[in-house]
Each structure stands twice: as structure tokens, then as C-alpha cells.
Symmetry: C2
Subunit: 226 residues, 2 copies
DNA sequence: CGACTACTTGAACAAAATCAAATGGGGTGG
DNA sequence: CCACCCCATTTGATTTTGTTCAAGTAGTCG
């Protein structure tokens, strides 16, 4: 385990309230795994035996339905966890996790986790915190899918990348446009057109670099589309 | 507290694993509240001081955004809980809860709950189970919003009302069509038209009663729209 | 009876998906 | 180093889907 690994683990919602010893005790070094791009980390419907925390790279969570269609649910980067809830209730993965880039992650044994939760109330609360963050993210996801148009969802995505800044900003798209399109619930074509539309609102595009003239005017555009 | 109240509480995901004493100890009778139709039970953004379990009636959860628009997130009936996650993490309600009909519910004090979770691991696991159910529901919600068309989402809703039966079935819409429309992410007009379309697939409409000739052909229609 | 509300229907419009084709790097093998 | 291919992205044309606005129907409750 590298110092960076340790740092990511410590930052995660599950472990950031615990003591060093508790965490070290938990994460045995053999639980760290490297996975190549495109590999499936978990498959929807299979027994949920591990909880995961990303150390490096990006993981895509998607649901797929009987007829081969699939929907991107979320993207997880370093220090973020996924598949917590499954390991504790249904016992079956409710989505498929795929490595979007080369990925390094910690796999934590589910039954081990369950046992420790029973013994350590602080861990239980951390776990609840972690799942409730995911719940909130999904809540916002649904809200935006229902209320905003495509271009507005993209604008919202860009604003969230820019963070709390005001005025002008340079934003770099964190992954492929296709994938962002999927996450925002549209086709790559629609994404491309949405991006074109945003030019009128002060967004200049250069590959994966976006030059935003005025973030607040983007925010205003979002508000107008509701 | 009526026997029915007690039954609903015992059936809830939070309490169904606990002993009678533990539950009785928890739910003091003064925590039971009756609320009239249309009343707001929680307001998005306000401090989350209570966790809720529905005893009678229906509660609608919605998110609303700055510009007055709102999106229905979910509908909760007897024995279902809502706002669990909030009481344990952010400390602020992340949605607004409104009584869709006359509602009777239990309000459980958040700080009390937190304390008990710290002492009782079994309760912590129940809580995790309860939130992870909500997580799964939302996951499916997102999937369907992204993959299915309006009429297909409605068909899916009807199929889920019918349950596991096959062949023909009579289904009664559990609440107003407007509300179902909102939940499925469409306007009342679109809902009405979607329902008309389903006539071609063997659904006869009479007020809130639906006569489905063959549920499997509805399922097939859903699959085809993907 | 009359007002209210939920629902339905129609027509015009807007948004997004689809199909098809062009563009344009990035990398591979010659 | 260059030609070539692969893949992501863009663009155009068309169709599908869904919204909006407007009007009409019907049941309900006072």
C-alpha cells in the first residue's frame, strides 16, 4: 500500500471518522487490487461480497435491463466508495461497476464489515453517512432528470465542475464526452449539440477544455430553463 | 396508539428485526401525529429533526429547485419510512414531504435515534437496511427515467401494481393520475395519452380501474420500447 | 344548480432520438 | 516518417416523443 492509497482511504466517507488503528486493522494490504480499463468490478445480480473504495482512476456504475440497454448511474473517483448498501441488505449487487480507466481499489470483505459494524457503533454511523451521501446524490440526479432540459443539465454539470468560483473559469472535462452524455441521460449526439448551444452562453470549447466566460450567466441559463 | 399503528410500526424496515420491548421503548405514544391532506410534513432545507414512518395515508416526497419547479421523488404508504438518511448526515431535509391524503404517522426524534444507534448495533443494521432499500428504489427510478419512454414507464408502473400475477388482472390506481404522472416524470397530458396508447396493448380504462387483458403482453411492450 | 377540480383531447411547437455521413486525432505497422 | 485504420466526436436530415396552450368533458361537492 502506497502513501497515496492510505490517504485516499482516510479521506473516504466510511473511514474519515475512525482512528488510524481501526482503519489499519481493517484494510489488510492484500485487499488492494489493480484493474485494467474496461474490466468489470461487480456485476449486477451477483452476490455482493465486497464493498469498494477507489484509490486511483474512475469507476462507472450502471444498471442494465433485460434487453441489453443500460443506464449510467454514477461515476466514482479516488476516495469514493461504491456498493456499500448492497453488501448490507439485499446481498446482491444492484448495479454493474466497470473500470473506465486503469483503476486501483480496495476490496473490503462484506461479512467482515457486517461483523465490525455490529461491534463498532462509530463505524455504523460512518456507514450510514456514506450511504446517505449516495442517496442525496441520486435524489438530485432524479430531480435534474425530471426538471432540466439536456443543455441545462450539461450547464449544471459544468457549473458543478467549476465549483464555487464566480466570474470566468477554465474547466476540464474529467472523462470522455460519451460517458458524460450517458451520465446526463442523453445520447452523444445530443450532448454535442447541447455543448454547441452553450457557446451562446459564453462557453468556448477546445477538445476537453472549456473556457467559461462567466459562470453566473451559465447559472442564470439553468434557472431560465426551469 | 391503535393496534393498527403498532402493526405498521412493526412491519417497517427499521423496526422489523427488533424485539417488542426495544420498539415499545422507542415509540412513545406522543410521537404519533395526524396530519390533514396537503399539509407539509417536512420542508426541504430545514433542519432534519425527525425520522418518519407512515401509519395511514400517503406521503409525497418532492425536491424543488430555486425557480419554483418541483419533481416528485417517491410516494410512501403505511409502514414505509422516509427521511432516514437526512437525520443522520447532512442534518437538513433534502426533500419536502407533503401529505397526499389524510395521514397518520410516527415522528421519531433524530438525536434520540442517533444515540440509540450508537448503543444498539442491531438498530444500526436495520437503519442501514432501510436506507439501502431507498437507494435501490432510486436506482431503479433513474434507470427507468433514462431507458424507458413515457408509455413504457406507465406500463411498468401498472405491471408493478399487478405484482407477480400472469394472465389478466384488474388493477386500481392507488392515487390521482396527476400524481402518478409526476412520479413517472411526465405531464398529466402525456400521462393521459400514454394511457390511451396502452389500450392497444389490452388495457381498458374505467376511472381509476384498469382492466389488463394480459399482463405478459404489457411486459413485452415494455421490453420492445427499450 | 353552479363552481371546482380532475381528466381528456386537439393542434402547434419544442426537444431529443435516430440514422447516416463527415471530420479529425492517436496510434500502429510498414 | 508516412499511410492507414480505429474511434470519438461532430454535423445534417428526419422522425419520434413529449410539452405547451387551449378548449372541452365529466364527476363532485357545496
Amino acid at each position: 500500500m502506497t502513501p497515496n492509497d492510505w490517504q485516499m482511504i482516510r479521506k473516504s466517507a466510511l473511514f474519515n471518522r475512525l482512528t488510524d488503528e481501526a482503519v489499519r486493522d481493517f484494510v489488510t494490504s492484500n485487499a488492494i487490487v489493480d484493474v485494467e480499463r474496461g474490466a468489470l468490478i461487480c456485476v449486477q445480480g451477483e452476490p455482493a461480497e465486497h464493498y469498494h473504495i477507489v484509490l486511483q482512476g474512475l469507476v462507472k456504475l450502471c444498471r442494465h435491463s433485460a434487453h441489453g440497454q443500460s443506464a449510467v448511474i454514477s461515476i466514482h473517483g479516488p476516495s469514493q466508495a461504491f456498493m456499500e448498501a448492497e453488501t448490507l441488505s439485499s446481498g446482491v449487487y444492484s448495479a454493474t461497476a466497470e473500470a473506465v480507466s486503469a483503476v486501483r481499489l480496495v476490496k473490503i470483505d462484506a461479512s467482515n464489515l457486517r461483523q465490525r459494524i455490529g461491534r463498532d457503533p462509530e463505524l455504523a454511523l460512518s456507514m450510514l453517512g456514506s450511504t446517505s451521501i449516495h442517496l442525496k446524490v441520486l435524489l438530485e440526479h432524479v430531480e435534474k432528470l425530471k426538471i432540466l432540459t439536456g443543455p441545462a443539465r450539461l450547464a449544471d454539470f459544468i457549473v458543478s465542475l467549476a465549483g464555487p468560483q464566480t466570474g470566468s473559469a477554465e474547466v476540464v472535462l474529467p472523462y470522455e464526452k460519451q460517458l458524460i452524455a450517458g451520465q446526463l441521460g442523453m445520447t452523444p449526439e445530443s450532448f454535442s449539440r447541447a455543448l454547441s448551444q452553450l457557446r451562446r452562453h459564453g462557453v468556448q470549447v477546445n477538445r476537453d477544455r472549456l473556457e467559461v466566460k462567466n459562470i453566473d450567466s451559465l447559472r442564470e441559463f439553468i434557472a431560465r430553463s426551469m
